[in-house]
Symmetry: C2
Subunit: 239 residues, 2 copies
């Protein structure tokens, strides 16, 4: 007799060698017209003292998916949940970690700077780094490659959606969204095109309030609750 129940009774996972599994996230924000990434100084070996992405091991007792692991680690470092969190890619191989064959499930996240600044300012090991300054940091493992992939994803999605709103505070103006989009894409865009898309997306509602960012007051908007992101069928900046 050899039922599945018999098999499972005798099954011992520790008999099989397994890769080292981690979860890492690339969290972006915008601050002072710069696109920034959250990096953490490594307190332990391996690569102690290097800077790395926020992440770590899965806690199988608490996490019911790698999304939960990513969320838990980001919340530990920032004090809040990211506004946007999607899976990026899985990186693996025998040489990327000195402890052996390893695999990291990576996530791509966005948050408003103001939402987490108080918490980040209070912990010394996490820091926002403008992407133009990343070269000043010694990054652990293949984290530079992961960041490059995340940046590519962010720029692609910015071309066919209004993803940058997830880098903004709960209420925001057209001007702030335009600035966010321009910082991410690294070039100026047509305000008219952005506003046309903003309206067509059906994702937003006016708060009724307005705010003076420049000289004239600008209307404030928020994301409609429960409304999903809208994907456009054409890209911005199609050159």
């Amino acid at each position: 007799m050899n039922t599945e129940a018999d098999y499972l009774n005798q099954y011992d996972a520790s008999r099989f060698p397994s890769p080292l599994v981690t979860v890492d996230s690339v969290l972006f924000t915008l601050h002072q017209q710069a696109l920034c990434i959250l990096v953490v100084e490594r307190a332990n070996h391996p690569q102690k003292g290097y800077w790395g992405l926020p992440g770590g091991f899965i806690d199988m007792a608490r996490d019911d998916s790698t999304r939960a692991t990513a969320m838990r680690k980001l919340t530990e470092k920032t004090g809040v949940s990211p506004s946007w969190l999607e899976q990026l890619d899985t990186f693996s191989g025998p040489d990327r970690d000195p402890r052996g064959w390893s695999l990291t499930v990576t996530w791509f996240a966005l948050i408003a700077w103001a939402d987490c600044e108080p918490h980040i300012a209070s912990v010394s090991d996490a820091r926002w780094v403008p992407i133009a300054r990343l070269a000043d940091y010694s990054l652990a493992f293949d984290h530079q490659k992961i960041i490059t992939a995340a940046l590519h994803r962010l720029r692609q999605k910015t071309m066919y959606s209004l993803l940058p709103v997830y880098c903004l505070p709960e209420t925001f103006t057209h001007g702030q969204l335009q600035e966010a989009t321009e910082v991410i894409l690294g070039q100026s865009i047509q305000r008219k095109s952005l506003i046309r898309r903003f309206e067509a997306s059906g994702m937003f509602e006016e708060t009724g309030e307005s705010m003076a960012t420049g000289t004239r007051k600008a209307r404030l908007w928020r994301r409609k609750p429960g409304v999903d992101i809208h994907l456009f069928s054409r890209n911005l900046l199609t050159d």
Copy 2:
């Protein structure tokens, strides 16, 4: 003294519990105007007798990435390398496999039916199933969910690239590409639009040969060697 070398000397991966890690692929092809997926009958527990995606454990001695694992498993089942292979997503959680907390890195692949039919016909455990017939099969684990994600990816990419060419033989006609695209999208498309994109992509060259699929002979084309896939800035079928 506590150097990284000391740390690595004392490091014992087996002390830490680790999720069960697998790699699974969704391989699509086109046959007789139907979009098909390769499924394999499970010879061992768990879920023995159910059908599942081609995949399995990482062989850390031989595979230098999960891509290599996916490629190795697909080659075992089909006899050839897929024409297209990209990472899809990672699925994880405590309940998806009865052996415990598990994680599968999934890949999305395309191949021409004729390239692997001789090999598949010779092995009894692998089978092409038209997606409309998947309901007739008892699928293992969360493989239905993985297939749904792969199908979504295939359809999306078909809207903004000529990805379906990777389901065709090395040389093919405009008509075959149109048929492939229509089968994948489940609706007819404008031949003129397809040919405009085909030319604009710069991905193809004429073989000089032609072929009678219908009454009149059609020109044969192939992918230019070393040329990457072209992504269009607008979608087809934007309704």
